[in-house]
């Protein structure tokens, strides 16, 4: 019996060590938000390059995005159809849930020359709102470490007019010295390179 007891104690010990750091008790917010992970990854960090990581985004940005998906103002394939099912109160709980989780970053393939050009453009035009190399923001999405493919889809939606740019962004992207497609690609590489 003795060895068995020791084995069991070791297993017990493993449980303690491996208890996930983000363990959180069941709640209505978790119930609503867990379903998003099928596409956006566990707790909002995505493993698929066309699906954005939504963890760690400012709550205001998540709220605003879901409202725009719901009204159809922001184009989407699936998100708009699903957003219509949630009340404003539920959307608030989901936004709060993901805002609290850390934004996970995976290493992406980037071109060093493009990253360098992107950094220059960022410094000249973007850093006032997309602070700390796109890591921080008051009400826009976090760009640092976001998936390249998602950012590319987003920028093409913005530039084709399918998605409305905020006024300040329009000024910097389409205003004086309008960005070329190559410059936009460089900025995307820069943000994707941020770890």
């Amino acid at each position: 019996m003795k060895p068995k007891g020791i084995a069991a104690a070791i297993i017990g010990g493993c449980f303690m060590i491996h208890a996930p750091a983000w363990a959180e008790s069941p709640s209505q917010a978790a119930m609503l938000s867990n379903t998003c992970a099928g596409c956006h990854g566990t707790n909002g960090t995505s493993a698929g390059p066309s699906m954005p990581t939504i963890a760690g985004m400012p709550e205001s940005y998540l709220l605003e995005s879901m409202k725009k998906f719901k009204s159809g103002e922001r184009p989407s394939s699936i998100m708009g159809r699903l957003a219509k099912a949630y009340s404003d109160e539920e959307i608030k709980m989901v936004a709060d849930f993901f805002a609290k989780h850390p934004f996970g970053r995976e290493k992406q393939e980037v071109d060093a020359a493009k990253v360098a050009i992107g950094k220059q453009i960022h410094d000249q035009r973007c850093k006032k709102c997309h602070m700390d190399n796109g890591r921080d923001s008051e009400d826009s999405g976090i760009l640092a470490g976001q998936w390249k493919e998602y950012l590319t889809i987003s920028m093409s939606e913005f530039r084709s007019g399918k998605r409305k740019m905020p006024e300040k962004m329009a000024e910097k992207v389409e205003g004086e010295g309008k960005l070329t497609p190559e410059e936009v690609e460089a900025i995307i590489h820069f943000y994707a390179s941020q770890q």
Partner: protein, 422 residues
């Protein structure tokens, strides 16, 4: 060896096997219980997620997940393997991270019995006790409804490939090896079955292969249902756009008889021969559901409480995924993922004596109609008056076929498989 020696040897062998059996019986528990424990049977779309989310929600609860295979092969995206644009290896995951990161005890063994009174699952190596049991066994087949179908022999000639793996590759090989001009026959069973749009995605993928590699061939579809079961107008649009003259779709044609030696199927009206035949058999809950006595009056699926997924027939046994009946939710991978999370949270609440949380589910199903273009259907589900219903005025199908849907679908499979294996 003379006859007497043989009998003696046989007696010794029988004696030995009885002895070894009683040693196992005495050995009892494979993993002695330390505290409160949930045992999960099945490591697919439902089982992995319920295990992980219980541990994420309350690490003081032990989770033992029993699964017979070391590698899981995803059914979603396996139709692309049949069409030739995906490697089956990309559909595979293992359970190493679930054990390492979440402390889930993964037992690779076959469940041979369930004693719901003693709250024990019997596996090859002994017994495993539980406080609550979650079954996520997927599907088995009602082969007996197809005259002439031999469960072992028939799939060697006519693979169903409705569980991804060896049969997926066999069907792919048959399509590659077939002479140009050969006829492919595919039959769809009566609903409900695993993955409502699945047969129609497969039809599209086979047609894509024929169009590109066997232009003289055609595909005859025999569908037991009155019409395409899911995303009908979009599939028809895709077939019209890409596969005109290749697909012959026959609704309300139920295959009742198969003959794998003659390579033919019979609808009772007509016998149809094919060079490649893909009979998707009618389905029922996976075998372990029957062991636990949780299959309902229809003798096919498991009725469950829609808030907790606890069986309405056997207490402390929960059933999720394809095997259970969950109101308006389709039998899909995403549904199983969603049900697993609802079940996990409310199992934790039950074990902690806390109030149940009203369920919220999502289902998203993408189907590829070529190697790149896809269509989708999505919905949010809630429980009203004990029934799972789709939230009105939301969800629905994609407006059209598009490559962008295909791009999103690709990220979906990455995320959902990653969630199950990390």
């Amino acid at each position: 060896m003379n006859r007497r020696n043989f009998i003696q040897l046989a007696g010794i062998a029988a004696g030995l096997s009885m002895t070894s059996f009683s040693i196992i019986a005495r050995a009892g528990e494979v993993l002695p219980k330390k505290g409160r424990r949930v045992v999960v049977v099945g490591g697919g779309y439902g089982g992995t997620i319920v295990s992980k989310y219980i541990r994420m929600s309350d690490p003081s609860i032990e989770v033992v997940m029993i699964e017979r295979n070391k590698t899981f092969v995803s059914c979603p995206f396996s139709n692309l393997v049949i069409g030739g644009s995906r490697d089956l290896k990309d559909n595979m995951i293992t359970y190493d991270n679930l054990a390492a990161k979440h402390g889930i005890q993964v037992v690779y063994d076959e469940v041979t019995g369930i004693d719901v009174a003693a709250k024990q699952v019997r596996v090859g190596a002994g017994t495993i006790s539980y406080d609550r049991l979650v079954l996520s066994p997927g599907i088995d087949f009602r082969f007996d409804e197809l005259e002439g179908y031999d469960p072992i022999e028939t799939p060697k000639y006519m693979p169903h490939a409705w569980k991804a793996g060896e049969q997926t590759l066999r069907l792919r090989k048959q399509l590659v090896d077939m002479a140009d001009g050969g006829t492919v026959v595919l039959s769809v069973p009566v609903t409900p079955f695993r993955c409502p749009p699945g047969p129609y995605e497969r039809i599209s993928q086979i047609a894509w292969h024929l169009k590109n590699h066997k232009p003289k061939s055609k595909l005859i579809v025999l569908d037991a249902n009155p019409d395409i079961v899911s995303k009908g107008p979009l599939f028809r649009k895709a077939w019209e756009k890409h596969y005109k003259g290749i697909i012959e779709f026959n609704a309300a044609n139920k295959v009742s008889k198969v003959d794998h030696k003659a390579m033919s199927v019979d609808t009772g009206v007509e016998e149809i021969k094919g060079a490649v035949i893909n009979v998707v058999p009618p389905q029922k809950a996976g075998a372990v559901a029957y062991m636990a006595g949780v299959v309902g009056e229809d003798k096919k699926w498991c009725p469950v409480n829609q808030v907790t997924f606890e069986s309405t027939l056997v207490p402390n046994v929960h059933v999720i995924g394809d095997a259970c009946s969950a109101g308006a939710m389709p039998k899909s991978g995403y549904s199983a993922n969603s049900q697993a999370k609802v079940c996990a949270l409310n199992v934790v609440q039950l074990m902690n004596g806390k109030e149940l949380i009203p369920p919220s589910h999502v289902n998203v199903c993408y189907s590829y109609v070529t190697d790149k273009e896809a269509i989708s259907v999505s919905a949010v589900y809630k429980v009203a008056e004990g029934k799972t219903i789709a939230v009105p005025n939301s969800g629905g199908v994609s407006p059209d076929l598009s490559e962008l849907e295909g791009v999103y679908a690709h990220s979906w499979i990455k995320n959902i498989l990653h969630e199950m294996s990390s």
